[in-house]
């Protein structure tokens, strides 16, 4: 649309008059000779036409419709099936085209991430398409029989795609998830054998157990034991003070042991003070709302954990997501957000916080801490590092990602972590400056409403932390850290050499091995169990739909022999399922432990 207020006489009338829909062909007689009056007339016509157009456009927009809050309606299953089929067809066409006319420009791979071939992508969507098609046809002829009793006439509790997925995809391979164990989750584990008499609708236990090597538990330093100093100390504390305080910290729920634990955690991390909570998930969910609020800016990594996402949502802060482990993207988004301020009010932000994790549990990648600290200092933002998986598992002293990079602990404003993984206990902590912890002691939701940590659990953490720090006089802590580090390097290198696609950094004890297709995940889990290795498979919705994987968690309790056995079985099952996806050249040198 062209709106002219003044027209240069050199411009030909046709140009003026061809304005969107209101193009009017004037006679070819030159109008320019008629002088400015005619041009003004033309202008009027043009502007009149414009204003008409605007008027028409204006009148077609009804005064703003009343804002209705619509409930998000799920599409029908038929539509869902065709969505996946359409992806499948597009990818097939693309694949055939690129087979005959290869693409010359290559996509820049992100660090340590090897992408699968387009054909694999196609097979992923095809596999989902087939599952949904079969499910749709089956439910067309035999509508789902699981109906709720005693609730006739009620609005159904579950509607839409979620329950269709559960019934038709998850149900078929349900025996690979939620597997029960009946032993300490140490280096070896006893799985309870299960069977399903009706294709996954119900699952029963046979009563037998299967002894497997455990690569599924987060037992990084091997403290999941039922013998030893930790166990004895915890037993003593239980006999002394019992197993619960039955109160939140504010209401007669603080014991001597909590204070002792908090000062030990502060010493371990090299910070001024720390505060502990009874549950790791709740640490994030209940403390982010007391640190942040509306008017605060948060830059959150793409693959942050559900507890961080929920905590940020409940806090009401504005969250912007940056690409996983990409400091350039983070800097760009942070700079933009700070320059433009709040999107509606354009006011400056009250504070800016960057929220990342030390090790990402699904990707196995370690965050780029030095770069993050540099960005944080440049833009005067705060840094919140969730070290749930990295504390104890990284670093020469087990101090987590801060220790690993040798960064000054004071550079990270808020250290957060959990005791579930490397310390063999439960609960979480937040550590940092005295001001921060004093604020949290007064405003944290968990301090006021949630019960304090159980005393024997606190004692388990104290004993294991003392061992890791070497304060008990032994070298056990040092040995465990070194054992874990050697295990990780050996395992990852061997796995890559075999030809599997493995994500993450070379030092990360979480090893995700890509399988892509859901049926491969279930077959891998079942076959490995038969061969005496208990691993964990992860699929949608915990990962992307094209990112199904096996996740191995290494431990200081694993010996070289155990690792060799695991690798041998994984290789065998990999051949059974054709999962050697890597197309990069491999070195044939033997890898030493």
């Amino acid at each position: 649309m062209v709106a002219h207020t003044e027209v240069s006489p050199q411009v030909s009338p046709e140009k003026i008059l061809t304005v969107g829909e209101c193009s009017e062909t004037r006679g070819s007689e030159s109008v320019s000779s008629k002088g400015p009056d005619v041009l003004c007339e033309q202008n009027e016509i043009v502007s009149h036409k414009n204003s008409n157009h605007v008027a028409i456009a204006g009148s077609s927009t009804v005064p703003h419709p009343k804002k209705k809050s619509y409930k998000e309606e799920d599409c029908s299953l038929f539509v869902a099936f065709f969505t996946f089929l359409s992806y499948g067809v597009l990818l097939l066409v693309g694949y055939i085209k690129e087979f005959f006319v290869p693409v010359t420009t290559k996509e820049k791979d992100r660090e340590e991430v090897e992408l699968c071939s387009p054909f694999t992508n196609f097979t992923i969507y095809l596999s989902y398409g087939v599952l949904f098609f079969v499910g749709y046809v089956k439910e067309f002829f035999y509508p789902p029989s699981t109906k709720e009793k005693n609730r006739e006439g009620y609005v159904p509790l579950y509607i839409g795609f979620e329950s269709f997925y559960t019934r038709n995809v998850y149900r078929r391979i349900q025996d690979c998830w939620n597997r029960a164990i009946c032993s300490v989750p140490g280096a070896e584990i006893d799985l309870m054998e299960r069977y399903t008499p009706d294709y996954g609708w119900t699952i029963k236990h046979t009563g037998k157990t299967i002894r497997c090597i455990n690569v599924g538990s987060y037992n990084y330093l091997g403290f999941a034991e039922n013998k030893g100093p930790c166990h004895d100390a915890a037993e003593e504390v239980t006999r002394e003070v019992g197993i619960t305080t039955s109160s939140p910290r504010w209401e007669l729920g603080t014991m001597e042991i909590h204070r002792k634990l908090e000062s030990l955690v502060a010493e371990f991390l090299g910070v001024e003070d720390a505060i502990t909570f009874g549950m790791g998930f709740a640490t994030n969910v209940l403390n982010l709302p007391s640190l942040l609020g509306p008017g605060c800016l948060v830059l959150s990594d793409e693959f942050n954990h559900a507890s961080l996402i929920l905590g940020l949502r409940l806090s009401g802060a504005t969250v912007k997501v940056f690409q996983h482990n990409n400091p350039e993207d983070l800097e760009k988004k942070l700079r933009e957000a700070i320059v433009y301020g709040h999107s509606r009010t354009r006011r400056p932000w009250k504070k800016a916080v960057i929220v990342v994790e030390g090790i990402y549990s699904m990707e196995g990648s370690i965050c780029d801490l030095p770069n993050l600290v540099r960005i944080k200092n440049k833009y005067k933002a705060y840094l919140y590092v969730d070290e749930a998986h990295s504390i104890g598992a990284l670093g020469s002293h087990g101090g987590g990602v801060v220790d690993y990079y040798g960064v000054d602990p004071k550079e990270v404003d808020i250290h957060m972590g959990t005791f579930t993984k490397s310390f063999g206990a439960a609960g979480g902590y937040i550590a940092g400056s005295k001001d921060l912890i004093n604020h949290l002691r007064v405003t944290s939701h968990a301090q006021v409403y949630a019960s304090s940590m159980s005393p024997p659990v606190a004692q388990q953490i104290i004993t294991s932390m003392v061992i890791i720090m070497g304060k008990d006089g032994s070298t056990e802590g040092r040995r465990r850290i070194q054992q874990l580090s050697r295990n990780v390097k050996y395992f990852r290198q061997r796995l890559r050499q075999m030809g599997f696609i493995v994500y993450g950094h070379d030092d990360s004890p979480v090893v995700p091995m890509l399988l892509y297709l859901i049926p491969k995940i279930s077959m891998f889990v079942r076959e490995l169990t038969k061969r005496g290795v208990a691993g964990v498979g992860v699929g949608f919705p915990a990962t992307k739909i094209t990112g199904g994987r096996m996740r191995f968690c290494l431990s200081a309790a694993h010996t070289k022999e155990m690792l060799d056995k695991i690798l041998k079985e994984v290789d065998e099952v990999g051949y059974l399922t054709s999962s050697h996806y890597s197309r990069e050249p491999k070195s044939q040198e033997p890898i030493e432990w």
Binding site: S69, T166, G280
Partner: protein, 337 residues
Amino acid sequence: MVVLDVHLNLEERLAAYFNCEAAVLYSYGFSTSASAVPAYAKSGDIIYADECINFALQRGLQASRSRIVYFQHNDPEDLHRLLKEQAIVDAKDPKRANATRKFLVVEGVYFNTGEVCALPQLVVLRRQYKLRLFLDESVSFGTLGPHSRGITDHFNIPMTEVDLLMSSLELGAGGTGGFCVGTSFVVEHQRLSGLGYCFSASLPPMLAAASIKVVDILEEEGASLVEQLQDRSTQMHRALTSLHTKVNITGAELSPIKHIRLSESSGDRQCDEAVLTQVVHKAEEYGVAVTVASYLYDREANAPQPSIRITVHKNLTDAQIDTTRDALTHAFTDVLG
């Protein structure tokens, strides 16, 4: 979340205890209520909640993104009025009404006031207006009912009337964690969509084993334990009724939780709380440990008045109850005059 045989055992025992089909075990009491509600209620649904529900439930309601309608504390008439209003709106748009789920969230015994929920009238409303009833029995687990099965037992209401029963094991049950029981149709959904269940570690085995023992004890001696506790609660209530002219006590006689509040508030919450804190310190000098009920006033949906929370123990002797009454009377007289 990996489960041990201990957890499976505890879940089976809890389901059997309440005569329900299935149970789900959480590792933290707070997360139980905060994760259970958002697993079912999504944006576009309506939740009717009592205005004095505890903080964990409030966070759960906030996380669910549904429309929350509070009704006056323990007042089924007020709830009825709100439901009638909604029914008129629904009649104009039946298609939308058929896609909107409605939930009713209440507690068995309210932690913030000590009142016992008026469950029979709420069940009638639930049937009439097709609501789904979510009941939080953190306080009433093991403390109400002739067979110690909680408030449904107390009012003799069958468990089929309740869609989901949530409870924490951290209060009366002396353990850690929490659980939800109900029909498998309802409860099994949480194994995939309860955030505090899927994305969190499971309960330490020792604490789960301790809770199994608690269920054992309740099954054997629950009836007599409840009787003893209710007797003590009634005694305590009568002893504390006439403490001081400027304070009054709220809570049902039977409830093990009572709140002592100032009859005339000064208008400023912090001021009231400071007065009550002084009373608590004085009471300590007289040999009784009590606590001011703690709240984050700026975060609560309907912040309650400051109070001193009294919790009754089943082993309190008459002499100890008298000591409590005297200590509190002295403390209040010293501070309030």
